[in-house]
Structures are given as structure tokens and as C-alpha cells.
Symmetry: C3
Subunit: 345 residues, 3 copies
């Protein structure tokens, strides 16, 4: 694929400065950059790199002082660059068809737009929307339902009757709809509490590699539309994650926790069971949420508190040595005997 | 499946109040509840929901004031409800047989009670107990041994010579018997320490999705009977986990740590290497255990301390600002010069 | 395999004390030990066990007082024992050949030294070095390149165009080259930032079970030679991990973090995005790195600080009750009224 800067500017509504006929054949990092490729400079700290890049053109938010190359100006330069990059991304291209090694139950309706890769398994009662891609080794258990345009990369597991909306993208090794961790002590040890719910996922959701989402106990586990989950995340039974919330890797949500819409949950966060996090909440990476948090707001630490309070806590702990020293000075200066319980004053 | 309340009461030894002939065709959540389904109300905070539920009958511990529906009373209502729920759970049903795409070594004895799913791999020397279920994509390496009634959901890996007892349930993507992380610096970088042990798992154990249990270096890694492991847990080489202990998701046990029997280890806990945790210990979620803990008892924080001490620590850190203020007040009031080292007093 | 002690001493350059013709048929743990097997005693705390071991010979650093069995002395006894152990380790033995259930693209050159196991998938353009082992269920996407002697245990995923050097060992369920977690808010929710880079891995690297390494956005994610990654680790897009660095399980590296060479990163550590950790840095388990760390040095805590400072912080927090008590004593003893703002003094 090759595009002139003029074509890119028109297609994405960008303001062009420089040589409109300059040809772009890909995108590249700013430093060192690549001839013939478009790069990106959105932050002032990268201005020095912009001046020496080998890339003949940049996407940016405004003119760059001292930079004499071509520019595509965008109000949201990262978004514009992402959309231009997608022109050069063939990661999602596929040829429809059913691999002869796939095992597909006889009752599954197969559109000619669907791809089912080698060694995939599609059990009875599964429904596949138009244009779905099941990569190698993916497993859809009985009655699972996928909306149009879903893409399961490889070795993805979708449990019985779990439902994915349209354009859900699941990375390799993710497990959707495993048994929730429900157990009750009986006379002879743990007994399982049957997990009769499913996982329901909305549209345009991404589920990261080796992430696990358990099915619900009685009600369902719900991931609303637009949610982005990174790798190695644990979503326990009966959690609800609200629309457009993004969660970074290694985070764990305990059972029945409810995350609001448009939240940003950092990496390696732990959210306790049965808690509610309001809409628009940001939780900093590595925090531990032990109480419900109302939104919007930014929280951090363990137990998580408003970020300002957390930063104060950290600073106060760091200067505890000063506090101890100040106290020692006072102790040396106090009036001997006065108020001293041990001396019986 | 349909049961009268009377039949359920008799089968599970419950006390029945209300219409004995009321027919139950499933179980449901309390709120909003479902007609024809049985629900559950064990905690007083759910009393309001109980009164408005659509469910015609509830399992509970005692009569519910103001609730006029049918009741099944149980000493342990959650346990009773779990057992009733299991009547309606078809998750473990299967038809025995060997899928034609499975690859099974010629020396493996196959009982007619066993199910081996599509694309499963069973290497030479494997022993499978009666009634085992190997879901799609499961891999049993050379000489692995499974007791009767094991269920490996899908894409489960069991390493060479690893041994599972009876009725072990392994969720998708779990890796049992990968190489332990043993390395020693040589002249040119790390060299592997061969991991010659295996993983030995007792009876009635559950292993969660994408959980990893490494094989031992010289001795074995041991998971005793009745243990419950949630998802995304790391069990390093030579760990021992005692009988009926339950561990929540995202927890990591470093090498050679020994967890006692009947422990409750929360989610995202880290247990350092070569530590011992006694029987009956509870470790709160997100704690970091840096020293051995004697049991029974409840511990929390990082480094983990008895829970009371941890709660005090958290409270003290939170009121450090008050401490600083109190100190400032004192400093302003002290007798000038007295005990002031800098002034040479 | 059977070796005399003399043969072992000669092969590995060890000093032999005792019966040179004693025959060794395996290795074993020190306690209780096994007849005919070699064991290992490197630390003085194991001296008591050495005296009662059933093993007829030990590898050690020096003569053991009171021990009368055979000895092989080594300057680095663990390294010597690891190398001897490898003689008895058949975990890496395999018979070359392509399983008939593997799906291999027609353009892939297959050396007779290569093993491709059941249900493996090798897509077009893949290059496999001599002696590679692809275990059951492994998936190599388009254009992936593996150097000589790579070993992918089972269910390993290698993304398009990702490159592994020689002798890379990947444990079951690892995902190399999944999509990086790059998203940008658009008008209607998150849009993907195409992840056009790959993962490049050097020689002699180990990647643990269910570990995930994302491909880069524009540049690549890089794992240099000699790196050892344990299980369930997250390496985000555009990270760089320097030569011979070892990282323990459950650790997460956020995007574009750079870890130096010869670092030791503990388990369950979190490293923030765009941070740099210098060469030779040790980060204690469960730390959270929020700022770049210069090397060499040892760091711990959250936010991570030099280990000494962290230990002081922990100790100070633990004695906060003492601080509060000391302050109370002072308050009781202070001159009433003096410096007391509330009283208007």
C-alpha cells in the first residue's frame, strides 16, 4: 500500500504542510525513522528527535519549530496516526474457509464469510456471526454465540452458552467462561457451588492474552461494550465491567465486583469482592481497592484512597525518620518529671 | 429436571414450610428471581430482596419475617443450595468415547467410560482412571497418571510422569508440570538446573484456568487432597499445599514454600520461597508473606503481620498527618534552648 | 545411564574423595537420599542431613566434618551438580519427524532434524532452525523465525514475523507476539493503535508457562540473549530486557520499560511504563517500580527505593505506635498554654 500525503490528508481530514505528492509506504517510530514512512510527534519532549528523524513526514498537533519536513496536523494526532497506521496493518486479513482439521458440529450454520482455522473445535449449538475469524486451536463449547466480525486469535476458549457481541477481539490463550471459584465447606472438605451463569460480552471488546473471565454462579458475568482488557487479567464470577472501561495487565477483580463505565484501571490492581467502583474512576497501577469508590476520581495505594491522600501518605512515611528525630529533640528538651506517668508526676 | 419441594426436602434432609407440591425446575438469583425456580437467602441484609423475589421458594437458615413464600430450612443453607443446584447443572455431563482427531499412544489402556475430546494428545505410558474426561486440546505427556473421574476441561497440559488423584478438576489452559525455574550462573550466563521431580496432586482438587504448577527440582511439588486453586496462580517447584487449603486468583507461591492444611489464602498474595505457613492460616488478599507464619491465625499486609497489627499499621499511617501536627504544636511550645543540640544547650 | 564417581570427576573437573568406582545411576534430594544416587550439600545448615543421607556420594564445596561418604568437590557445587543432573534428564530427548496431524504450510523448509508434534500449526513463511522441537498444539504464525535448537513445549503461540534466536525454550501456554495494548479514545470509544512491531528474542532464552510477551507498536519488543523469564509474566509492547536478566513469576512490565543486563527482578514486581532499570539491578519480590532505577543496586518496596531505605521504612511504620506513645507522654508534660495556637498563646 502506498499513499501520497495529499491522499492521507484528504482521507482523514488533516491539514497538510509540505510536499503533497510525497509518497508514504508505511509508518515508523520517530527515532531513527525510516525513509518513505510516516511518523508521529505529539509531545514537545520529542522535538529534538523530530528534527533528526529519517521519516519524510510527521503527524503532529501543531507546527514544530525548527522542523522542516512534511507535516500532517490533526486535532488528535495519536488518533489520526492510529487510523493511518491501520492502512498498513495486515494483521486482521484472512481468507474465509473451514480448515479440514477443524472439528465443527453438524448443526452449526457456517457462512462463507467465516474462517475456522486448523484444529479449532466448534461444538453443537454454536452460532457464528458473519465474518468471524477463529484462529488455530480455538474452542467454542456448546451453545456459545459470537456476533459478527469476532476475531479469536488462537487457543482461545469460550465456555458453554457464553455470548460475545460483534467485533470482539480475543487474544491467544484467553479463557472465557471457566468455572467460577465457588466452593462451600461440607462435612468432608470443599464442595463445589455449581456455576450456572455464563459470560456475556458486548460489542467492540478486546480480551488480552491468557486473561481469564469466569462464568457467573447464578447471574452472569458481564463485560459491556467497548471494554478493553489487557493480558493476564482475572475477572471472577459475577463481575460487571462497564462500557468503555480499560484495564491494564495482571489486574484481578474478585467475585461480584462492579466496575463503572469509562474507568481506567491500572496494572496489577486488586479489587475486592462485592465492591462497586463508580463511573469515570481511575485506579493507579498496583493499588488494592478494599472499599467501594465513588466516581469520578483518581485513587491509589493499598488500601486505595484518593490519589492526593496516597501521595501524602507515601511522603509522610518517607520522612518518618525526620519525625522520629524531631521527637527525640523534644524529648531531650522537656521539663524533667512533668507529666511523666512512670515517675508518677 | 423437575422436583417438588417435598422431594428436595426429603433428598437433602431439609425442613419444609409452605406448599410441598410446588414444582422447582431450576435455581436462580434472589433478585429479581424467576418463577418456578428456587433461590437462596442466607444473610439478613438480603431480607428486603427476599420479600419481593419472583422465586416461589427459598433455601434459608431460619424463617424470614414478612416473607410468605415457601421455605426450605437448612443448618448450612449455602451447602444445601449448592447440592440442590448441582441437580440442575449439566456442565459435567459427557458421552464417553475417543474423538477420531485425538492422538493417543498405542500403549494407553482406554476404558469405555473415558472421554477423549478433539485434538487431545495422550502420550505413551499414560494411565487414565475410569470415567476421566479429557476436553478438546488437552495434552498428557509421557507417563502421566490420572485417577478415576478426573476432568480436564480444555487445553490443559499435564507434564511427564505427573500424577493426579481421583476427581481432579482442571480448568482450561492450566499447566501442570512445566519446568521449575531453576537456574545457576555459569561462565557464560545462566545454566538450567534440571527439574527431575514431578507434580503430585491428591484427590478432589480443583486447578483454575491458566494456573501454572511447576514440577520439582529433585523432590516433587505436592498438592494434597481437597485443595482448591483459583485462576492464574503460580505454584513454583517443590511447593507443598496442604489438605483442603483454598487459594484465590493471581497468588504466587515461590519455590519450596509449604502451605498448611485448611488455609485460606486470598487473591494476589505472594509467599516467599522456603517459607512455612501453618495449618488453618488465613492470609488476606494482596498480602506479601516474607516470614513463616504459624497457624492458626489471620495475617495481612506486606510484610504480612497478624491482621490486627496490620489494621493498626494502616490506621497509624493514615493519621500520620495528625501526628505531624501534634509534633509541630509541641515544638512551638517547647522551652527555647532546652535540650537543643544545635544550640549546644 | 550409569557413571562411576571417577568418570564424573574427570568429566566435570571435580576433586574426588572416597570410592572412585562407586556407581551413580541418578541424582536425588539430600534428605532422605537414595542408594545409588548422587546428592548435593552446599550449605552448612544441611550438614546434619548430609550425615544421615542414604545417598552414597555428595557434591560439595569442601570436606564435610563428620561425613564419611564419598565426595565430589567443586568450586561451584550447584553448577557442577546441575551439569551432572543433566546427564540423567531425558526431558529434552525427542525423535525428529512431523506428526501427521500437524498442519504445516507448503513453503516451510523442514530439516530431518526437526520435530513437529501432534496438532501443531506452522503457517506460511515460517523458518525453523536445525533441531527445533515443536510440541503438541504449538502455533507459529506467518513468517515466524526460530533459530536452531529451539524447544516449544506445548500450546505455545508465536505471532506473525516474531523471531526467536537459537536454543530458546518456551514453556506451555506462553504467548509471544500478541497484540500490544495500544488504544486511543475516539469519538465513539476506544480505537486500536495498530501494533506493527514484532517480538525479537535472542539466544538461550527461557520463557515460562503462560507468560505473555506483546509485540511492539512501531518498534519491536526485545528480549536479549540469556534472559530467563518465569511463569505468568507480562511483558508489554516495546519493552527491552537486557542480556542475562532473570525475572521471577507474576511480574508485569508496563509498556516501553527497559530493563538492563544481569538484573534480578523478583516475583510479582510491577515496573511502570517508560522507565529504565540499569544494569545489575536487583528488585525484591512484590516491589512496585515507579521511577527509573540506576544500577547496580538492590531496591524494594512500593514505591521502590534502595533496599536499606525500604527496610527502614518498614521498621518505622511498625514502631509508629511507639512514636505515638512517646508523643503522648510529651504532650502531657508540656508547659500548659505555651505555643498552643487554639488557646491563642
Amino acid at each position: 500500500m502506498r499513499f501520497t500525503l495529499e491522499a492521507l490528508a484528504q482521507r482523514f481530514g488533516l491539514e497538510l504542510f509540505g510536499d503533497a505528492r510525497s509518497v508514504i509506504e508505511g509508518v515508523c517510530a520517530l527515532n531513527p525513522g525510516l525513509p518513505g514512512h510516516l511518523s508521529f510527534c505529539a509531545e514537545s519532549r520529542f522535538l529534538v528527535q523530530a528534527k533528526s528523524t529519517l521519516a519524510p513526514a510527521l503527524v503532529a498537533a501543531e507546527r514544530i519549530p525548527g522542523y522542516s519536513g512534511n507535516l500532517l496536523l490533526a486535532r488528535n494526532p495519536l488518533l489520526a496516526f492510529a487510523r493511518i497506521s491501520a492502512l498498513f496493518d495486515d494483521a486482521y486479513d484472512f481468507v474465509p474457509g473451514i480448515d479440514e482439521t477443524a472439528v465443527v458440529a453438524g448443526d452449526v450454520a457456517l457462512s462463507p464469510t467465516v474462517h475456522i482455522g486448523p484444529h479449532a473445535v466448534v461444538e453443537a449449538g454454536v452460532q457464528l456471526g458473519e465474518g468471524c475469524f477463529l484462529g488455530p486451536g480455538c474452542i467454542l463449547r456448546k451453545g456459545a454465540i459470537l456476533g459478527a466480525g469476532c476475531r479469536l486469535e488462537a487457543n482461545v476458549y469460550v465456555g458453554p452458552r457464553c455470548r460475545l457481541g460483534a467485533r470482539v477481539h480475543v487474544l491467544p490463550g484467553a479463557v472465557i467462561g471457566g468455572r467460577g471459584f465457588g466452593n462451600v465447606p461440607g462435612e468432608k472438605g470443599w464442595e463445589e457451588i455449581p456455576q450456572l451463569g455464563v459470560v456475556r460480552i458486548g460489542d467492540d471488546v478486546e480480551v488480552g492474552a491468557n486473561t481469564t473471565i469466569d462464568r457467573g454462579a447464578l447471574a452472569d458475568t458481564v463485560i459491556e461494550s467497548g471494554v478493553r482488557l489487557d493480558n493476564l487479567i482475572q475477572v471472577a464470577h459475577n463481575c460487571v465491567i462497564g462500557r468503555d472501561t480499560a484495564i491494564a495487565a495482571c489486574t484481578g477483580l474478585a467475585g461480584s465486583s462492579r466496575i463503572g463505565a469509562r474507568c481506567m484501571i491500572g496494572g496489577a490492581v486488586v479489587v475486592g469482592g462485592h465492591l462497586t467502583i463508580g463511573d469515570g474512576v481511575t485506579v493507579l497501577g498496583r493499588s488494592g481497592v478494599t472499599k467501594s469508590l465513588s466516581g469520578p476520581g483518581v485513587y491509589g495505594g493499598f488500601p486505595a484512597v484518593p490519589v492526593k491522600e496516597w501521595h501524602y501518605q507515601v511522603a509522610r512515611v518517607r520522612r518518618l525518620n525526620v519525625l522520629e528525630d524531631r521527637l527525640s529533640v523534644l524529648e531531650k528538651s522537656r521539663v524533667p518529671g512533668a507529666g511523666d506517668d512512670k515517675n508518677g508526676a
